[in-house]
């Protein structure tokens, strides 16, 4: 998957800086996405199919949105050195609350959006407080909230509920040229988060906290506050994903999140994008790349009608392999070409 061109870092600062940039997985994963697309195009066309048709491109993009939004949120918490396993149930709950609040009426849309985001924010806040305040390991803390949400859902809902008015459904189905409108939602969120990560204090503090909480704290960073905010951001993204899915389903679905395994899939996408699971390194761009890779792979699998069980095998291999490659890069610090 990689071909090494060893140590360029020896030749002076400039070269080192260059290597620093090139060895950035965020670059690699996009190259990988490009490669996969190319590969898919070749294979599919070889089989007499046509890969890069407008509808197909639209579908690939469409499939990026839900996972993309959630993975972006997950990126925020992972960067900060935390984790969120509750996203799957939160997204399900989100779709239900959205659909029930809208209840088929145009007038309720704004209100529903607000309610969903508030709910998501609250859950994120709870996660953050449990992790920082009670000092429960993020893994267990969010697993716990996941269980709690699950109970809430199963106790309250018995199958899809509520209905989404046509105007809002357009978010799920309309497209401009080959671009689904929902992709613009994803793009907007991505840009916002990118700005937060790179251009705000919160962002700097997230990287610092994830990189070395002790050092960050000594430098006067409010590490707890940072972690909490990261969790809130994450949950807000999940809320956005829930709204999108509600628009797509036209109703709320209690298993929208779990059947798609968004909890583990999102983490997979994040690390695929080269973000360090331990935190402190990585970012939005890489995660998007990871999501695109997964989406394109899925599309190729579809075209070649790969056995669904075998798909899982391939997914597993891809994830492990990718992370192994990032780790090697990080150890070597030398630029690599990924195909």
């Amino acid at each position: 998957m990689t071909a090494g061109s060893p140590a360029a870092s020896s030749t002076g600062r400039l070269a080192a800086r260059l290597a620093w940039r090139l060895s950035d997985p965020a670059v690699g994963v996009w190259l990988a996405a490009l490669g996969v697309t190319l590969l898919g195009w070749i294979v599919v066309n070889a089989r007499g199919g046509d890969f890069l048709t407008q509808p197909n491109v639209t579908i690939i993009l469409q499939n990026c949105v839900a996972l993309g939004l959630i993975a972006l949120g997950q990126t925020m918490v992972i960067l900060t050195g935390s984790l969120d396993l509750s996203v799957a149930y939160l997204v399900s709950l989100g779709t239900l609350v959205a659909a029930e609040t809208m209840d088929g009426r145009e007038g309720n849309i704004a209100w529903a959006v607000l309610v969903v985001l508030l709910l998501a924010g609250a859950v994120g806040l709870a996660n953050g407080l449990i992790v920082t305040g009670l000092r429960v390991n993020a893994f267990i803390a969010t697993l716990g909230t996941a269980l709690i949400l699950r109970g809430w859902i199963e106790d309250t809902y018995t199958g899809p509920a509520g209905s989404v008015p046509g105007t809002f459904r357009r978010l799920g189905y309309d497209r401009i040229g080959p671009l689904p409108v929902s992709v613009f939602l994803l793009a907007a969120v991505a840009v916002a988060l990118w700005l937060i990560c790179r251009r705000t204090r919160l962002g700097h503090h997230m990287y610092a906290t994830g990189g070395d909480e002790h050092a960050a704290r000594l430098s006067g960073v409010r590490t707890h506050r940072t972690v909490i905010l990261a969790h809130v951001l994450c949950s807000l993204c999940v809320g956005a994903a829930a709204l999108f899915l509600a628009a797509r389903f036209g109703t709320g679905s209690p298993w929208a999140g779990t059947e798609a395994r968004y909890d583990l899939e999102s983490i997979a996408a994040v690390v695929l994008g080269g973000t360090l699971l331990a935190g402190g390194r990585g970012g939005v761009v890489g995660t998007l790349g990871g999501v695109v890779v997964l989406a394109v792979l899925d599309s190729v699998f579809n075209q070649l009608s790969v056995d669904p069980f075998f798909k899982n095998v391939l997914r597993g291999v891809v994830i492990i392999a990718a992370v192994a490659v990032w780790t090697r890069r990080r150890r070597r610090g030398a630029p690599r070409r990924t195909a």
Binding site: P55, G159, Y173
Partner: protein, 425 residues
């Protein structure tokens, strides 16, 4: 307007129309009434909960993937009555080929979809599958593939598997609609959520829906067995007959909130209420045998014995039987499903048991229907398949020692060339 039957979301409104859908005329009348009522409901509580004519879910599936999108409390008298009446009817169609039979069909013309001579021998069939996430669907999928193999006029058969994800299946349907399919078969993962996608596809290609329905009448035909009420009632009535009055009944359910399973239970609940039997426990097993076995063991201990076991599906029935054996108890009358392990346990131990089915042979029908549509032959607007129940009398004809434990006997596949290897026999 097939799909406008009443969905009660607010208990204030009760369905007022009792239907004895015998003659088409009466039925249309009733349907008309239903429409009006639905309309009136739309005012009081706008809900696009799906039709209750809507089909059932794969039996034995623990995963909450099965759904027709409605509240559990919901119980539709009309649909209930109709299903029970249908159980008694003898279907039209060729003897011994239940997958081609139909109940109270309302045939519709399909000339508009007929293929020109040139293409008639070169058919591209497409299928958007909800997934193969449980044995029932795997048996079904195999059956459909074998059915396709029997028709050489089908030159291409494209299947896309949604892996139980609504979002993915929506895209899948869009993708297939974009390809050059002659007909599109859809087995929806969720009724409510897939409606828009199916409607979109209807415009491009003749669509055939089976197993679960969608909240639109745009598909050419909708294929499904009689339904969940009939299933649940059959099992309950059996216990009412077999268990002495005052007997303690344990009800084992897969998981809450799966509409079809809710239907089965609500029908059973009704039957038990009218009987002298006492339902001492209603437990959820997540379709996991280990859980089921534990639950049953606990129940036996707590109530000092159980006199009858009602199940909303077959996945855990053998575990339940074993629980009684391991507790050194006589196995009471029990209901299961047409999975081989249960049937074999039943015949070996010669239990008092019953196996209502949600037949997997329905996976053959969509292919047949598609070919008819593309040939311009008429098909029923709603293709109701018979829903046999296995009793002591015909048990032996379904027991197949050579088949895998999780194989569904009601696959109607014994006569197919690939049998039994293709099904793992």
């Amino acid at each position: 307007m097939r799909r406008t039957s009443v969905v009660k979301r607010t208990s204030s409104v009760k369905p007022t129309i009792a239907v004895k859908s015998t003659s088409p005329a009466k039925r249309t009348g009733s349907v008309l009434g239903a429409v009006l009522l639905a309309a009136s409901l739309l005012v009081s509580c706008s809900s696009d909960a799906p039709p209750d004519g809507s089909p059932s879910a794969p039996a034995g599936s623990g995963a909450p993937d099965d759904d027709a999108g409605r509240e559990a409390e919901f119980f539709a008298q009309e649909e209930y009555d109709q299903q029970l009446s249908l159980m008694g009817r003898s279907p039209e169609g060729p003897e011994g080929r239940p997958w081609e039979q139909m109940l109270i069909p309302e045939m519709i013309p399909t000339e508009e979809y007929a293929l020109p001579e040139a293409e008639a021998a070169d058919i591209h069939l497409c299928f958007s599958n909800a997934g193969v996430f449980n044995p029932w669907r795997q048996v079904g999928m195999t059956t459909m593939e074998e059915e396709v193999a029997q028709h050489e006029e089908i030159t291409e058969f494209t299947v896309i598997d949604a892996e139980g994800q609504d979002d993915k299946q929506i895209s899948d349907i869009q993708e297939l609609a974009g390809q050059d399919c002659d007909a599109l078969i859809v087995s929806p993962n969720t009724t409510a959520t897939l409606t828009p996608a199916v409607e979109e596809a209807c415009g491009r290609v003749p669509v055939i829906v089976f197993d679960r329905g969608v909240n639109t009448d745009c598909p050419v035909t909708f294929i499904h067995p009689i339904g969940g009420y009939a299933y649940g009632a059959a099992a309950a009535d059996f216990l009412v007959d077999e268990v002495d009055p005052g007997g303690k009944i344990l009800a084992l359910r897969i998981s809450p909130g799966v509409d079809v399973l809710e239907n089965r239970w609500s029908a059973a609940e009704l039957a038990f209420e009218e009987s002298e039997l006492e339902v001492v426990d209603v437990e959820f097993t997540d379709g996991d045998p280990a859980t089921a076995k534990s639950v049953v063991t606990d129940a036996i201990q707590r109530h000092g014995g159980i006199d009858g076991v009602w199940m909303d599906s077959g996945a855990t029935s053998v575990a339940a039987i074993e629980a009684f054996e391991d507790a050194g108890e006589e196995v009471p009358p029990i209901t299961g499903e047409d999975q081989q392990d249960f049937l074999q346990a039943w015949s070996e131990r010669d239990l008092t048991a019953l196996a209502p089915t949600y037949p997997t042979f329905q996976w053959r029908t969509p292919v047949i229907a598609a070919l008819r549509v593309l040939a311009g032959e008429e098909v029923p607007e709603e293709w109701r398949l018979p829903q046999p129940t296995i009793t002591e009398d015909d048990l032996e004809s379904y027991v197949r020692a050579d088949m895998p434990p999780l194989h569904y006997a009601m696959c109607g596949c014994e006569d197919m060339p690939g049998y039994p290897q293709a099904w793992g026999g």
